[in-house]
Protein backbone atom coordinates (compact mmCIF):
# COMPACT_ATOMS: atom_id res chain seq x y z
CA UNK A 1 0.00 0.00 0.00
CA UNK A 2 1.38 3.37 -1.04
CA UNK A 3 1.12 6.05 1.60
CA UNK A 4 -0.09 9.56 0.79
CA UNK A 5 3.38 10.93 1.38
CA UNK A 6 4.92 8.54 -1.14
CA UNK A 7 2.20 9.43 -3.61
CA UNK A 8 3.08 13.10 -3.48
CA UNK A 9 6.67 12.36 -4.34
CA UNK A 10 5.66 10.97 -7.73
CA UNK A 11 6.38 13.43 -10.53
CA UNK A 12 3.04 12.70 -12.19
CA UNK A 13 0.81 13.50 -9.22
CA UNK A 14 0.78 17.25 -9.92
CA UNK A 15 -0.98 16.90 -13.26
CA UNK A 16 -3.86 15.13 -11.47
CA UNK A 17 -3.91 17.69 -8.67
CA UNK A 18 -4.08 20.46 -11.27
CA UNK A 19 -6.82 18.67 -13.22
CA UNK A 20 -8.95 18.20 -10.09
CA UNK A 21 -8.48 21.82 -8.97
CA UNK A 22 -9.48 23.15 -12.38
CA UNK A 23 -12.51 20.85 -12.49
CA UNK A 24 -13.56 22.06 -9.02
CA UNK A 25 -13.19 25.70 -10.06
CA UNK A 26 -15.36 25.06 -13.11
CA UNK A 27 -18.03 23.20 -11.18
CA UNK A 28 -18.14 25.87 -8.46
CA UNK A 29 -18.57 28.50 -11.18
CA UNK A 30 -21.51 26.62 -12.72
CA UNK A 31 -22.83 25.91 -9.18
CA UNK A 32 -22.54 22.16 -9.64
CA UNK A 33 -24.13 21.84 -13.03
CA UNK A 34 -22.64 19.62 -15.69
CA UNK A 35 -19.74 18.36 -13.56
CA UNK A 36 -20.25 14.78 -14.73
CA UNK A 37 -20.67 15.75 -18.36
CA UNK A 38 -17.40 17.68 -18.24
CA UNK A 39 -15.51 14.64 -16.94
CA UNK A 40 -17.11 12.46 -19.56
CA UNK A 41 -16.08 14.85 -22.34
CA UNK A 42 -12.60 15.24 -20.85
CA UNK A 43 -12.12 11.44 -20.91
CA UNK A 44 -13.23 11.33 -24.55
CA UNK A 45 -10.94 14.05 -25.83
CA UNK A 46 -7.98 13.22 -23.60
CA UNK A 47 -7.94 9.69 -25.06
CA UNK A 48 -6.55 10.93 -28.38
CA UNK A 49 -3.95 13.13 -26.75
CA UNK A 50 -2.83 10.20 -24.59
CA UNK A 51 -2.33 7.91 -27.59
CA UNK A 52 0.06 10.33 -29.35
CA UNK A 53 1.49 11.52 -26.03
CA UNK A 54 2.76 8.04 -25.19
CA UNK A 55 4.60 7.81 -28.52
CA UNK A 56 6.06 11.29 -28.05
CA UNK A 57 7.09 10.34 -24.48
CA UNK A 58 9.20 7.42 -25.70
CA UNK A 59 10.82 9.64 -28.34
CA UNK A 60 11.56 12.50 -25.93
CA UNK A 61 12.91 10.03 -23.37
CA UNK A 62 15.71 8.97 -25.72
CA UNK A 63 17.46 12.24 -24.99
CA UNK A 64 17.75 15.96 -25.75
CA UNK A 65 16.85 16.95 -29.30
CA UNK A 66 14.69 13.91 -29.87
CA UNK A 67 11.15 14.91 -30.71
CA UNK A 68 8.63 13.81 -33.33
CA UNK A 69 7.20 16.81 -35.20
CA UNK A 70 5.56 14.66 -37.88
CA UNK A 71 2.68 13.57 -35.61
CA UNK A 72 0.07 16.07 -36.92
CA UNK A 73 0.76 15.25 -40.58
CA UNK A 74 0.81 11.55 -39.76
CA UNK A 75 -2.59 11.76 -38.02
CA UNK A 76 -4.08 13.48 -41.07
CA UNK A 77 -2.61 11.00 -43.58
CA UNK A 78 -3.63 7.92 -41.56
CA UNK A 79 -7.15 9.25 -41.09
CA UNK A 80 -7.50 9.86 -44.81
CA UNK A 81 -6.05 6.48 -45.79
CA UNK A 82 -8.27 4.63 -43.31
CA UNK A 83 -11.44 6.40 -44.45
CA UNK A 84 -10.57 5.85 -48.14
CA UNK A 85 -9.87 2.15 -47.71
CA UNK A 86 -12.91 1.59 -45.48
CA UNK A 87 -15.18 3.48 -47.93
CA UNK A 88 -18.02 3.59 -45.39
CA UNK A 89 -18.20 -0.21 -45.27
CA UNK A 90 -18.08 -2.00 -41.91
CA UNK A 91 -16.49 -5.09 -43.46
CA UNK A 92 -13.46 -3.07 -44.55
CA UNK A 93 -12.67 -1.68 -41.08
CA UNK A 94 -9.85 -4.14 -40.26
CA UNK A 95 -8.21 -3.62 -43.65
CA UNK A 96 -8.54 0.15 -43.30
CA UNK A 97 -6.90 0.08 -39.88
CA UNK A 98 -4.13 -2.16 -41.19
CA UNK A 99 -3.50 0.21 -44.12
CA UNK A 100 -3.33 3.24 -41.85
CA UNK A 101 -0.98 1.52 -39.42
CA UNK A 102 1.20 0.38 -42.32
CA UNK A 103 1.46 3.98 -43.51
CA UNK A 104 2.38 5.03 -39.98
CA UNK A 105 5.05 2.34 -39.90
CA UNK A 106 6.52 3.65 -43.16
CA UNK A 107 6.48 7.25 -41.89
CA UNK A 108 8.38 6.08 -38.81
CA UNK A 109 10.92 4.23 -40.94
CA UNK A 110 11.29 7.30 -43.16
CA UNK A 111 11.80 9.59 -40.14
CA UNK A 112 14.48 7.35 -38.73
CA UNK A 113 16.26 6.91 -42.07
CA UNK A 114 16.48 10.69 -42.47
CA UNK A 115 17.96 11.01 -38.98
CA UNK A 116 20.41 8.19 -39.57
CA UNK A 117 21.42 8.62 -43.19
CA UNK A 118 21.50 12.40 -43.39
CA UNK A 119 22.84 12.77 -39.84
CA UNK A 120 20.42 15.60 -39.13
CA UNK A 121 18.72 16.40 -35.81
CA UNK A 122 15.38 14.60 -35.33
CA UNK A 123 13.56 17.94 -35.16
CA UNK A 124 14.62 18.85 -38.70
CA UNK A 125 14.17 15.30 -40.00
CA UNK A 126 10.64 14.83 -38.71
CA UNK A 127 9.71 18.36 -39.82
CA UNK A 128 10.96 17.77 -43.38
CA UNK A 129 9.22 14.40 -43.47
CA UNK A 130 5.98 15.97 -42.29
CA UNK A 131 5.90 18.22 -45.40
CA UNK A 132 5.84 15.14 -47.61
CA UNK A 133 3.36 13.34 -45.37
CA UNK A 134 0.85 16.20 -45.24
CA UNK A 135 1.17 16.71 -48.99
CA UNK A 136 0.32 13.03 -49.54
CA UNK A 137 -2.73 13.48 -47.32
CA UNK A 138 -3.82 16.58 -49.28
CA UNK A 139 -3.31 14.83 -52.62
CA UNK A 140 -5.21 11.72 -51.48
CA UNK A 141 -8.22 13.47 -50.01
CA UNK A 142 -8.54 16.58 -52.22
CA UNK A 143 -10.01 18.18 -49.14
CA UNK A 144 -13.10 15.98 -49.23
CA UNK A 145 -14.18 14.63 -45.87
CA UNK A 146 -15.09 10.94 -46.15
CA UNK A 147 -17.41 9.58 -43.49
CA UNK A 148 -16.32 6.68 -41.27
CA UNK A 149 -18.16 3.33 -41.36
CA UNK A 150 -20.97 3.24 -38.78
CA UNK A 151 -19.34 0.56 -36.65
CA UNK A 152 -16.08 2.52 -36.30
CA UNK A 153 -17.99 5.68 -35.40
CA UNK A 154 -20.00 3.73 -32.82
CA UNK A 155 -16.93 2.21 -31.16
CA UNK A 156 -15.19 5.59 -31.10
CA UNK A 157 -18.12 7.44 -29.55
CA UNK A 158 -20.05 4.90 -27.42
CA UNK A 159 -20.33 5.57 -23.67
CA UNK A 160 -21.50 3.34 -20.83
CA UNK A 161 -22.85 5.27 -17.84
CA UNK A 162 -21.11 8.35 -19.24
CA UNK A 163 -17.75 6.64 -19.53
CA UNK A 164 -16.39 6.42 -23.11
CA UNK A 165 -15.48 2.86 -24.11
CA UNK A 166 -12.43 4.15 -25.96
CA UNK A 167 -11.13 5.85 -22.80
CA UNK A 168 -11.36 2.56 -20.87
CA UNK A 169 -9.45 0.74 -23.61
CA UNK A 170 -6.77 3.43 -23.74
CA UNK A 171 -6.42 3.41 -19.93
CA UNK A 172 -5.67 -0.30 -20.24
CA UNK A 173 -3.28 0.40 -23.11
CA UNK A 174 -1.50 3.07 -21.06
CA UNK A 175 -1.06 0.59 -18.21
CA UNK A 176 0.48 -1.83 -20.68
CA UNK A 177 2.82 0.88 -21.99
CA UNK A 178 3.75 1.75 -18.43
CA UNK A 179 4.89 -1.84 -17.90
CA UNK A 180 6.70 -1.72 -21.24
CA UNK A 181 8.53 1.42 -20.11
CA UNK A 182 9.59 0.34 -16.66
CA UNK A 183 9.83 -3.46 -16.85
CA UNK A 184 10.75 -4.45 -20.39
CA UNK A 185 14.19 -4.60 -21.94
CA UNK A 186 13.05 -2.09 -24.57
CA UNK A 187 11.76 0.47 -22.04
CA UNK A 188 14.86 0.17 -19.89
CA UNK A 189 17.03 0.65 -22.97
CA UNK A 190 15.13 3.82 -23.94
CA UNK A 191 15.71 5.29 -20.48
CA UNK A 192 19.36 4.24 -20.47
CA UNK A 193 19.97 5.88 -23.85
CA UNK A 194 18.22 9.02 -22.63
CA UNK A 195 20.51 9.22 -19.63
CA UNK A 196 23.75 8.62 -21.50
CA UNK A 197 23.80 7.28 -25.04
CA UNK A 198 27.50 6.49 -24.98
CA UNK A 199 27.34 4.62 -21.70
CA UNK A 200 24.31 2.76 -23.01
CA UNK A 201 26.20 1.79 -26.15
CA UNK A 202 29.24 0.67 -24.15
CA UNK A 203 26.94 -1.40 -21.97
CA UNK A 204 25.93 -3.32 -25.07
CA UNK A 205 22.52 -1.77 -25.70
CA UNK A 206 21.73 -1.71 -29.44
CA UNK A 207 21.23 2.07 -29.39
CA UNK A 208 20.30 2.53 -33.03
CA UNK A 209 17.83 -0.38 -33.02
CA UNK A 210 16.11 1.05 -29.96
CA UNK A 211 15.89 4.52 -31.51
CA UNK A 212 14.51 3.00 -34.70
CA UNK A 213 11.83 1.16 -32.72
CA UNK A 214 11.00 4.35 -30.81
CA UNK A 215 10.39 6.49 -33.90
CA UNK A 216 8.34 3.70 -35.47
CA UNK A 217 6.29 3.28 -32.28
CA UNK A 218 5.53 7.00 -32.16
CA UNK A 219 4.50 7.06 -35.82
CA UNK A 220 2.29 3.96 -35.51
CA UNK A 221 0.57 5.41 -32.44
CA UNK A 222 -0.05 8.66 -34.35
CA UNK A 223 -1.64 6.58 -37.11
CA UNK A 224 -3.86 4.79 -34.64
CA UNK A 225 -4.89 8.18 -33.26
CA UNK A 226 -5.69 9.34 -36.80
CA UNK A 227 -8.02 6.39 -37.46
CA UNK A 228 -9.84 6.74 -34.14
CA UNK A 229 -10.08 10.51 -34.45
CA UNK A 230 -11.61 10.17 -37.92
CA UNK A 231 -14.15 7.70 -36.48
CA UNK A 232 -14.85 9.97 -33.53
CA UNK A 233 -15.27 13.22 -35.44
CA UNK A 234 -17.28 11.93 -38.40
CA UNK A 235 -14.51 11.77 -40.98
CA UNK A 236 -10.89 12.58 -41.70
CA UNK A 237 -10.17 16.31 -41.94
CA UNK A 238 -6.75 17.47 -43.12
CA UNK A 239 -6.31 19.82 -40.18
CA UNK A 240 -7.45 17.39 -37.50
CA UNK A 241 -3.90 16.66 -36.39
CA UNK A 242 -2.79 20.28 -36.03
CA UNK A 243 -3.49 20.71 -32.34
CA UNK A 244 -1.64 17.51 -31.48
CA UNK A 245 1.82 18.97 -32.12
CA UNK A 246 1.66 21.15 -29.04
CA UNK A 247 -0.61 18.75 -27.16
CA UNK A 248 1.65 15.71 -27.57
CA UNK A 249 4.68 17.60 -26.29
CA UNK A 250 2.75 19.45 -23.58
CA UNK A 251 1.28 16.32 -21.98
CA UNK A 252 4.73 14.75 -21.81
CA UNK A 253 6.19 17.83 -20.12
CA UNK A 254 3.25 18.51 -17.79
CA UNK A 255 3.06 14.81 -16.96
CA UNK A 256 6.45 14.96 -15.31
CA UNK A 257 8.61 13.32 -17.96
CA UNK A 258 12.04 14.92 -18.17
CA UNK A 259 12.65 16.75 -21.46
CA UNK A 260 16.32 16.03 -20.94
CA UNK A 261 15.52 12.35 -21.45
CA UNK A 262 16.06 9.28 -19.32
CA UNK A 263 13.18 9.89 -16.92
CA UNK A 264 9.63 9.13 -17.98
CA UNK A 265 6.26 8.01 -16.71
CA UNK A 266 2.97 7.08 -18.34
CA UNK A 267 0.36 7.98 -15.67
CA UNK A 268 1.32 11.66 -15.92
CA UNK A 269 0.28 11.69 -19.58
CA UNK A 270 -3.30 10.84 -18.66
CA UNK A 271 -3.31 13.44 -15.90
CA UNK A 272 -1.85 16.09 -18.18
CA UNK A 273 -4.25 15.30 -21.04
CA UNK A 274 -7.22 15.68 -18.67
CA UNK A 275 -5.67 18.86 -17.28
CA UNK A 276 -5.28 20.39 -20.75
CA UNK A 277 -8.88 19.64 -21.72
CA UNK A 278 -10.33 20.79 -18.41
CA UNK A 279 -8.32 24.02 -18.65
CA UNK A 280 -9.90 24.91 -21.99
CA UNK A 281 -13.34 23.90 -20.67
CA UNK A 282 -12.86 26.13 -17.62
CA UNK A 283 -11.83 29.13 -19.75
CA UNK A 284 -14.84 28.50 -22.00
CA UNK A 285 -17.16 28.35 -18.99
CA UNK A 286 -15.72 31.59 -17.68
CA UNK A 287 -16.58 33.13 -21.04
CA UNK A 288 -12.97 33.76 -22.11
CA UNK A 289 -12.43 34.73 -25.75
CA UNK A 290 -10.47 32.59 -28.21
CA UNK A 291 -7.49 34.89 -27.77
CA UNK A 292 -7.41 34.48 -23.98
CA UNK A 293 -7.74 30.69 -24.33
CA UNK A 294 -4.72 30.58 -26.65
CA UNK A 295 -2.66 32.86 -24.41
CA UNK A 296 -3.48 30.85 -21.27
CA UNK A 297 -2.69 27.52 -22.97
CA UNK A 298 0.68 28.87 -24.05
CA UNK A 299 1.52 30.48 -20.71
CA UNK A 300 0.66 27.34 -18.73
CA UNK A 301 3.03 25.25 -20.84
CA UNK A 302 5.83 27.80 -20.51
CA UNK A 303 5.05 28.05 -16.76
CA UNK A 304 5.13 24.30 -16.19
CA UNK A 305 8.37 23.81 -18.09
CA UNK A 306 9.92 26.72 -16.18
CA UNK A 307 9.03 25.15 -12.85
CA UNK A 308 10.02 21.66 -13.95
CA UNK A 309 13.27 23.03 -15.37
CA UNK A 310 15.50 21.60 -18.04
CA UNK A 311 18.27 19.14 -17.47
CA UNK A 312 20.46 19.74 -14.49
CA UNK A 313 23.96 20.81 -15.48
Amino acid sequence: MISVQQLFQKPWIWSYVGAILIWLATVIFTSGQGGGAIISAALSFATFTVIVGIGQMFVISTGPGNVDLSIPANIALSGVIAMKVMAVSNGMIPIGIAAALASGFLVGVFNYSLIRLLKIPPIIATLSASFLVISSAIALSHGIKIKPPTMLADVATVRYFGIPLLAVIVIGFAALMSVLLSRSLYGRSVLAIGQNPRAAWLAGIPVEKVRFATYVLSAVLASLCGVLLAGFSGGAALNMGEEYLLASIAVVVIGGTSVAGGKANVPGIWGAALFMFLLVTMLNTFGASAGIRLIMTGLIIVGVITIAGGDEV
Binding site: P64, V67, L114, L117, L118, K119, I120, P121, I123, I124, L127, S128, A129, S130, F131, L132, I134, S135, S136, I138, A139, H142, L245, L246, I249, A250, V253, V259, A260, S289, A290, G291, I292, R293, L294, I295, M296, T297, G298, L299, I300, I301, V302, I305, T306, G309, G310, D311, E312, V313
Partner: protein
Protein backbone atom coordinates in the same frame (compact mmCIF):
# COMPACT_ATOMS: atom_id res chain seq x y z
CA UNK B 1 41.24 24.85 -60.30
CA UNK B 2 39.55 21.45 -60.30
CA UNK B 3 40.99 20.79 -56.87
CA UNK B 4 39.40 23.96 -55.54
CA UNK B 5 36.08 23.20 -57.16
CA UNK B 6 35.85 19.71 -55.69
CA UNK B 7 37.11 20.77 -52.28
CA UNK B 8 34.35 19.79 -49.79
CA UNK B 9 34.69 23.06 -47.91
CA UNK B 10 34.21 25.10 -51.06
CA UNK B 11 31.37 22.88 -52.22
CA UNK B 12 29.54 23.27 -48.94
CA UNK B 13 29.74 27.05 -48.87
CA UNK B 14 28.83 27.26 -52.56
CA UNK B 15 25.84 24.94 -52.26
CA UNK B 16 23.29 27.66 -51.30
CA UNK B 17 24.37 29.86 -54.22
CA UNK B 18 24.39 26.92 -56.63
CA UNK B 19 20.92 25.74 -55.61
CA UNK B 20 19.60 29.29 -56.01
CA UNK B 21 21.10 29.69 -59.48
CA UNK B 22 19.97 26.23 -60.62
CA UNK B 23 16.41 27.08 -59.61
CA UNK B 24 16.61 30.54 -61.20
CA UNK B 25 17.84 29.19 -64.55
CA UNK B 26 15.26 26.40 -64.45
CA UNK B 27 12.58 29.07 -64.11
CA UNK B 28 14.07 31.16 -66.95
CA UNK B 29 14.10 28.03 -69.12
CA UNK B 30 10.48 27.20 -68.33
CA UNK B 31 9.23 30.75 -68.54
CA UNK B 32 11.58 33.13 -70.40
CA UNK B 33 9.31 36.05 -69.64
CA UNK B 34 10.29 35.74 -65.95
CA UNK B 35 13.72 37.00 -67.00
CA UNK B 36 12.82 40.68 -66.65
CA UNK B 37 12.73 43.47 -64.10
CA UNK B 38 9.01 42.96 -63.64
CA UNK B 39 9.22 39.17 -63.49
CA UNK B 40 12.00 39.14 -60.91
CA UNK B 41 10.18 41.74 -58.84
CA UNK B 42 7.02 39.65 -58.85
CA UNK B 43 8.76 36.36 -58.03
CA UNK B 44 10.96 37.75 -55.29
CA UNK B 45 8.54 40.23 -53.64
CA UNK B 46 7.85 38.03 -50.69
CA UNK B 47 11.49 37.06 -50.39
CA UNK B 48 12.13 40.15 -48.26
CA UNK B 49 9.92 39.21 -45.26
CA UNK B 50 10.95 35.55 -45.61
CA UNK B 51 14.63 36.55 -45.63
CA UNK B 52 14.17 38.70 -42.51
CA UNK B 53 12.35 35.87 -40.69
CA UNK B 54 15.09 33.48 -41.77
CA UNK B 55 17.74 35.79 -40.31
CA UNK B 56 15.70 35.91 -37.08
CA UNK B 57 15.65 32.10 -36.96
CA UNK B 58 19.37 32.00 -37.73
CA UNK B 59 20.18 34.05 -34.62
CA UNK B 60 18.35 31.45 -32.51
CA UNK B 61 19.96 28.50 -34.30
CA UNK B 62 23.40 30.09 -33.72
CA UNK B 63 23.01 29.46 -29.99
CA UNK B 64 21.84 25.86 -30.62
CA UNK B 65 18.15 26.61 -30.07
CA UNK B 66 15.18 26.44 -32.41
CA UNK B 67 12.32 28.93 -32.59
CA UNK B 68 8.95 27.36 -33.35
CA UNK B 69 7.14 30.64 -32.68
CA UNK B 70 8.64 32.98 -35.28
CA UNK B 71 5.68 32.54 -37.67
CA UNK B 72 2.96 33.54 -35.19
CA UNK B 73 5.30 36.27 -33.90
CA UNK B 74 5.61 37.79 -37.40
CA UNK B 75 1.81 37.50 -37.59
CA UNK B 76 1.47 39.42 -34.31
CA UNK B 77 3.82 42.14 -35.54
CA UNK B 78 1.78 42.36 -38.74
CA UNK B 79 -1.39 42.84 -36.68
CA UNK B 80 0.20 45.52 -34.48
CA UNK B 81 1.54 47.29 -37.59
CA UNK B 82 -1.80 47.29 -39.39
CA UNK B 83 -3.68 48.59 -36.35
CA UNK B 84 -1.76 50.49 -33.65
CA UNK B 85 1.19 51.62 -35.78
CA UNK B 86 -1.26 52.90 -38.38
CA UNK B 87 -3.60 54.69 -35.97
CA UNK B 88 -1.22 55.95 -33.29
CA UNK B 89 2.42 55.49 -34.37
CA UNK B 90 3.85 56.08 -30.87
CA UNK B 91 1.74 53.37 -29.24
CA UNK B 92 2.52 51.05 -32.14
CA UNK B 93 6.25 51.65 -31.86
CA UNK B 94 6.10 51.00 -28.11
CA UNK B 95 4.22 47.75 -28.69
CA UNK B 96 6.85 46.61 -31.19
CA UNK B 97 9.69 47.50 -28.80
CA UNK B 98 7.88 45.59 -26.05
CA UNK B 99 7.65 42.52 -28.28
CA UNK B 100 11.40 42.65 -28.96
CA UNK B 101 11.96 42.92 -25.20
CA UNK B 102 9.68 39.91 -24.71
CA UNK B 103 11.91 37.92 -27.05
CA UNK B 104 14.98 38.95 -25.06
CA UNK B 105 13.23 37.90 -21.85
CA UNK B 106 12.49 34.49 -23.37
CA UNK B 107 16.18 34.08 -24.08
CA UNK B 108 16.93 34.94 -20.46
CA UNK B 109 14.33 32.45 -19.20
CA UNK B 110 15.66 29.65 -21.43
CA UNK B 111 19.24 30.30 -20.31
CA UNK B 112 18.36 30.74 -16.61
CA UNK B 113 16.39 27.50 -16.26
CA UNK B 114 18.26 25.66 -19.02
CA UNK B 115 14.98 24.98 -20.81
CA UNK B 116 14.46 23.24 -24.14
CA UNK B 117 13.78 26.05 -26.60
CA UNK B 118 11.30 24.07 -28.67
CA UNK B 119 8.90 23.56 -25.76
CA UNK B 120 9.12 27.20 -24.67
CA UNK B 121 8.73 28.61 -28.17
CA UNK B 122 5.95 26.17 -29.03
CA UNK B 123 4.09 27.45 -25.96
CA UNK B 124 4.87 31.06 -26.87
CA UNK B 125 3.54 30.54 -30.40
CA UNK B 126 0.10 30.18 -28.80
CA UNK B 127 0.65 33.33 -26.76
CA UNK B 128 1.62 35.39 -29.85
CA UNK B 129 -1.31 33.98 -31.79
CA UNK B 130 -3.67 34.68 -28.90
CA UNK B 131 -2.58 38.33 -28.61
CA UNK B 132 -2.79 38.74 -32.40
CA UNK B 133 -6.32 37.30 -32.45
CA UNK B 134 -7.33 39.74 -29.72
CA UNK B 135 -5.88 42.72 -31.61
CA UNK B 136 -7.36 41.69 -34.94
CA UNK B 137 -10.15 39.08 -34.56
CA UNK B 138 -10.92 39.20 -38.29
CA UNK B 139 -8.54 39.95 -41.18
CA UNK B 140 -8.25 43.67 -41.74
CA UNK B 141 -6.34 46.73 -40.64
CA UNK B 142 -4.34 49.01 -42.85
CA UNK B 143 -0.62 49.28 -43.48
CA UNK B 144 0.96 52.67 -42.67
CA UNK B 145 1.57 54.58 -45.91
CA UNK B 146 5.34 54.88 -45.43
CA UNK B 147 5.83 51.11 -45.23
CA UNK B 148 3.68 50.58 -48.31
CA UNK B 149 5.70 53.22 -50.13
CA UNK B 150 8.99 51.65 -49.04
CA UNK B 151 8.01 48.12 -50.09
CA UNK B 152 6.77 49.20 -53.52
CA UNK B 153 9.74 51.44 -54.32
CA UNK B 154 10.94 51.10 -57.92
CA UNK B 155 14.73 51.05 -57.92
CA UNK B 156 16.54 51.53 -61.25
CA UNK B 157 17.86 48.44 -63.11
CA UNK B 158 17.85 46.01 -60.18
CA UNK B 159 14.48 45.15 -58.54
CA UNK B 160 14.06 46.34 -54.95
CA UNK B 161 13.74 42.85 -53.36
CA UNK B 162 17.17 41.86 -54.74
CA UNK B 163 18.80 45.01 -53.36
CA UNK B 164 17.03 44.66 -50.01
CA UNK B 165 18.09 41.01 -49.70
CA UNK B 166 21.71 41.90 -50.53
CA UNK B 167 21.76 44.71 -47.96
CA UNK B 168 20.27 42.47 -45.24
CA UNK B 169 22.76 39.70 -46.00
CA UNK B 170 25.75 42.02 -45.97
CA UNK B 171 24.80 43.86 -42.77
CA UNK B 172 24.23 40.67 -40.80
CA UNK B 173 27.37 39.16 -42.30
CA UNK B 174 29.44 42.13 -41.10
CA UNK B 175 27.82 42.00 -37.66
CA UNK B 176 28.12 38.26 -37.02
CA UNK B 177 30.98 37.04 -39.17
CA UNK B 178 33.39 39.97 -39.34
CA UNK B 179 33.19 41.66 -35.93
CA UNK B 180 34.93 40.39 -32.82
CA UNK B 181 31.68 40.64 -30.92
CA UNK B 182 29.96 38.48 -33.53
CA UNK B 183 32.64 35.86 -33.01
CA UNK B 184 31.84 35.70 -29.31
CA UNK B 185 28.12 35.39 -30.10
CA UNK B 186 28.82 32.47 -32.44
CA UNK B 187 31.23 31.00 -29.96
CA UNK B 188 28.40 30.79 -27.45
CA UNK B 189 26.86 28.27 -29.83
CA UNK B 190 30.11 26.52 -30.69
CA UNK B 191 31.47 25.95 -27.22
CA UNK B 192 29.42 27.64 -24.51
CA UNK B 193 31.69 26.43 -21.71
CA UNK B 194 34.81 27.88 -23.31
CA UNK B 195 33.10 31.21 -23.92
CA UNK B 196 31.93 31.30 -20.30
CA UNK B 197 35.41 30.40 -19.02
CA UNK B 198 36.89 33.19 -21.10
CA UNK B 199 34.79 35.61 -19.07
CA UNK B 200 31.81 36.33 -21.27
CA UNK B 201 28.34 36.03 -19.87
CA UNK B 202 26.29 33.31 -21.59
CA UNK B 203 23.18 34.96 -20.23
CA UNK B 204 24.07 38.18 -22.02
CA UNK B 205 24.80 36.46 -25.32
CA UNK B 206 21.54 34.54 -25.20
CA UNK B 207 19.52 37.67 -24.43
CA UNK B 208 21.26 39.53 -27.26
CA UNK B 209 20.66 36.72 -29.75
CA UNK B 210 16.99 36.38 -28.82
CA UNK B 211 16.53 40.17 -28.94
CA UNK B 212 18.13 40.24 -32.38
CA UNK B 213 15.73 37.50 -33.44
CA UNK B 214 12.85 39.58 -32.10
CA UNK B 215 14.17 42.65 -33.93
CA UNK B 216 14.38 40.84 -37.28
CA UNK B 217 11.00 39.23 -36.60
CA UNK B 218 9.58 42.75 -36.24
CA UNK B 219 11.24 43.81 -39.51
CA UNK B 220 9.77 40.73 -41.20
CA UNK B 221 6.29 41.63 -39.96
CA UNK B 222 6.64 45.27 -41.05
CA UNK B 223 7.78 44.37 -44.55
CA UNK B 224 5.09 41.70 -44.88
CA UNK B 225 2.32 44.19 -44.08
CA UNK B 226 3.91 46.65 -46.51
CA UNK B 227 3.31 44.05 -49.24
CA UNK B 228 -0.11 42.75 -48.21
CA UNK B 229 -1.38 46.20 -47.03
CA UNK B 230 -3.63 44.51 -44.44
CA UNK B 231 -3.07 41.87 -41.77
CA UNK B 232 -4.47 38.73 -40.19
CA UNK B 233 -3.36 36.79 -37.11
CA UNK B 234 -2.59 33.75 -39.26
CA UNK B 235 -0.87 35.68 -42.05
CA UNK B 236 2.59 34.30 -41.28
CA UNK B 237 1.89 30.85 -39.81
CA UNK B 238 4.04 29.20 -42.47
CA UNK B 239 7.00 31.45 -41.71
CA UNK B 240 8.14 29.10 -38.93
CA UNK B 241 8.75 26.39 -41.51
CA UNK B 242 10.10 28.82 -44.11
CA UNK B 243 12.61 30.28 -41.69
CA UNK B 244 13.94 26.90 -40.54
CA UNK B 245 14.09 25.68 -44.13
CA UNK B 246 15.81 28.91 -45.20
CA UNK B 247 18.58 28.49 -42.64
CA UNK B 248 19.09 24.86 -43.65
CA UNK B 249 19.15 25.64 -47.38
CA UNK B 250 21.60 28.40 -46.58
CA UNK B 251 24.08 25.96 -45.13
CA UNK B 252 23.57 26.63 -41.43
CA UNK B 253 24.38 23.78 -39.06
CA UNK B 254 21.95 23.05 -36.26
CA UNK B 255 24.54 22.89 -33.53
CA UNK B 256 27.89 24.46 -32.98
CA UNK B 257 27.23 28.03 -34.07
CA UNK B 258 28.15 27.28 -37.69
CA UNK B 259 25.93 29.63 -39.65
CA UNK B 260 26.05 31.77 -42.74
CA UNK B 261 23.96 34.96 -43.02
CA UNK B 262 24.56 35.28 -46.77
CA UNK B 263 23.63 31.63 -47.19
CA UNK B 264 20.49 32.09 -45.10
CA UNK B 265 19.31 34.98 -47.28
CA UNK B 266 20.07 32.91 -50.40
CA UNK B 267 18.09 30.08 -48.79
CA UNK B 268 15.13 32.40 -48.29
CA UNK B 269 15.36 33.58 -51.92
CA UNK B 270 15.48 29.94 -53.05
CA UNK B 271 12.34 29.19 -51.05
CA UNK B 272 10.55 32.19 -52.54
CA UNK B 273 11.57 31.03 -56.03
CA UNK B 274 10.56 27.44 -55.29
CA UNK B 275 6.93 28.57 -55.14
CA UNK B 276 7.13 30.11 -58.63
CA UNK B 277 9.10 27.14 -59.96
CA UNK B 278 6.46 24.66 -58.81
CA UNK B 279 3.76 26.76 -60.48
CA UNK B 280 5.72 26.93 -63.75
CA UNK B 281 6.30 23.16 -63.52
CA UNK B 282 2.49 22.81 -63.29
CA UNK B 283 2.85 20.78 -60.12
CA UNK B 284 -0.57 20.47 -58.51
CA UNK B 285 -1.00 22.77 -55.51
CA UNK B 286 -1.61 19.59 -53.48
CA UNK B 287 2.07 18.75 -53.79
CA UNK B 288 3.49 22.23 -53.21
CA UNK B 289 4.34 21.66 -49.56
CA UNK B 290 5.59 18.18 -50.33
CA UNK B 291 7.83 19.46 -53.12
CA UNK B 292 9.33 22.00 -50.72
CA UNK B 293 9.95 19.20 -48.24
CA UNK B 294 11.57 17.18 -51.01
CA UNK B 295 13.85 20.09 -51.99
CA UNK B 296 14.90 20.37 -48.34
CA UNK B 297 15.66 16.68 -48.08
CA UNK B 298 17.64 16.71 -51.35
CA UNK B 299 19.77 19.63 -50.17
CA UNK B 300 20.37 17.94 -46.82
CA UNK B 301 21.32 14.73 -48.62
CA UNK B 302 23.79 16.59 -50.85
CA UNK B 303 25.31 18.14 -47.77
CA UNK B 304 25.58 14.79 -46.03
CA UNK B 305 27.46 13.52 -49.10
CA UNK B 306 29.85 16.48 -49.09
CA UNK B 307 30.43 16.17 -45.35
CA UNK B 308 31.20 12.48 -45.73
CA UNK B 309 33.90 13.31 -48.28
CA UNK B 310 35.36 15.83 -45.90
CA UNK B 311 35.45 12.96 -43.43
Amino acid sequence: MVAILTNPKFLRSALPGISFLVLLFAIFYLQPRAMSYFGMNLMLQYAVPIALATIAQMFIITVNDLDLSIGPFVGLVACITATYLHQSPLLGALALIASIAAYGALGALIQWRNLPSIVVTLGMSFVWLGIAVMILPTPGGKAPEWIKALMSVKTPYIPFPVIAAAVIALLVHLLLMRSSFGTVLRGAGGNPKAVARAGWSLMKTKVIMYSMAGFFGVLAGLSLVGLTTSADAHIADRYTLYSIAGVILGGGEFVGGRISPIGAVLGALTLALAGSFLIFMRISPDWQIGAQGAILIIVLALRALINRREG
